[in-house]
Symmetry: C2
Subunit: 214 residues, 2 copies
DNA sequence: GTCTATACACTGATAGAC
DNA sequence: GTCTATCAGTGTATAGAC
């Protein structure tokens, strides 16, 4: 019962501080961009002295790299629902739901990713060329199989994937514009559901994958 | 025939230099973001001394503001084809073509716009609230009329517009990612045509505005 | 109108006490 | 491991010669 706090958190301190820093960094990088973000602002938002940031992450770029990598992992995991599906209606519908949910829950992360790609991917170019390229090719094959099985209309798989990415990520990357056009209010739960339904309806009908229930 | 060059260009010098600066600024702001862009780099790319930039544009922000405003004008003019159309198939098809052509010809401008909106529109918030809001409302009314006339399926007009913006601008904003997935090569003329066709096919069928020719 | 030289502020990163 | 004080470098902006 003395001031022995060594066994209290084991090594949890490092993880805890890193998490605080990463959460603050994601927001600051998203709102100001890499060049506009300052280590001082990230330090203030995370409640730690600026020097501590450099203790956990040697350079600003290393911190940024870690933020982008974490986002990419979340983004890739959303693809699981795609593979597990039985057909295009189920698979693409679930993929849209998953990506829309990410846009809703991680809008800052999506913006950092968009900014990184717009600036010609200076720190994750290798991921684009390897992991993303392989993922895209694999998913394109699934789509082509669905087409050959007559379960959806013939469309270029890559352009369909681009449309899925563009449409779902738009709700995160351009959330400020959407909110402004929504009377300055963030989208409500009902509006998010309507957005999901609209996207799914147009795309699934657009590729002929929707059963003629309606 | 002496060194009298006063009447040679009248006041064209100012316009010419401003154009040089604006073209360079658009590229630099697009590739580095506002915070990452430097007046020195813009000066080097435009071939003018840095001090001259401050002569034509007092501050970095005033130059940036001008770039964003110019982009917004180009972006708005693409809407003319929408209004002049007879119905959804013609109107939306022409709008997609126009916006895809802008993504192809002005990729830097589209990126600057995206970056500005992602950073919560610090310099063009008033445009979003006035001009863009009015434009969106007007176009939504046209879409609703088409729906009531039975010329397309009932869809939420706003979400349809978001999909049109997201899909077409994606080819500019994420061009680096698309090029990487295209084997590191920019899209060819034929690939651009295929992209346009894919987008039009999926969206027009998705809203039930495509005549059953195929 | 144009350009060189420079003032002034800020940022990333680190040294060194605790 | 933590934090204060500080350095070196860079950026915007301007003064003033031409």
């Amino acid at each position: 019962m003395t001031n022995d706090q060594r066994p209290k958190k084991r090594q949890g301190r490092r993880e805890e501080n890193e998490k605080l820093i990463l959460e603050a960094a994601e927001k600051v990088f998203a709102e100001a961009g890499f060049g506009g973000a300052t280590m001082q602002l990230i330090a203030d938002m995370s409640g730690l002295p600026k020097a501590n940031l450099h203790y956990y992450f040697p350079t600003k770029e290393s911190l940024y790299r870690r933020v982008v990598q974490d986002i990419f992992q979340i983004w890739l995991q959303a693809a699981d629902v795609f593979d597990a599906a039985d057909g295009p209606e189920e698979g693409i519908s679930a993929y849209i739901d998953a990506k829309m949910e990410i846009s809703r829950r991680h809008p800052a992360g999506s913006k950092v990713w968009a900014s990184e790609v717009m600036h010609r991917a200076p720190v994750i170019q290798d991921y684009l060329e390897t992991t993303l390229a392989e993922w895209t090719q694999g998913r394109a094959q699934i789509i082509e199989r669905w087409i050959q099985e007559g379960r959806m209309d013939p469309v270029n798989p890559n352009h369909l994937l681009y449309m899925l990415w563009a449409t779902t990520q738009h709700y995160a990357d351009f959330s400020h514009q959407i909110d402004t056009l929504n009377g300055g209010q963030p989208m409500s739960d009902a509006q998010w559901e309507e957005a999901k339904a609209s996207v799914k309806q147009i795309i699934l009908r657009g590729i002929g994958a929707l059963k003629p229930t309606n």
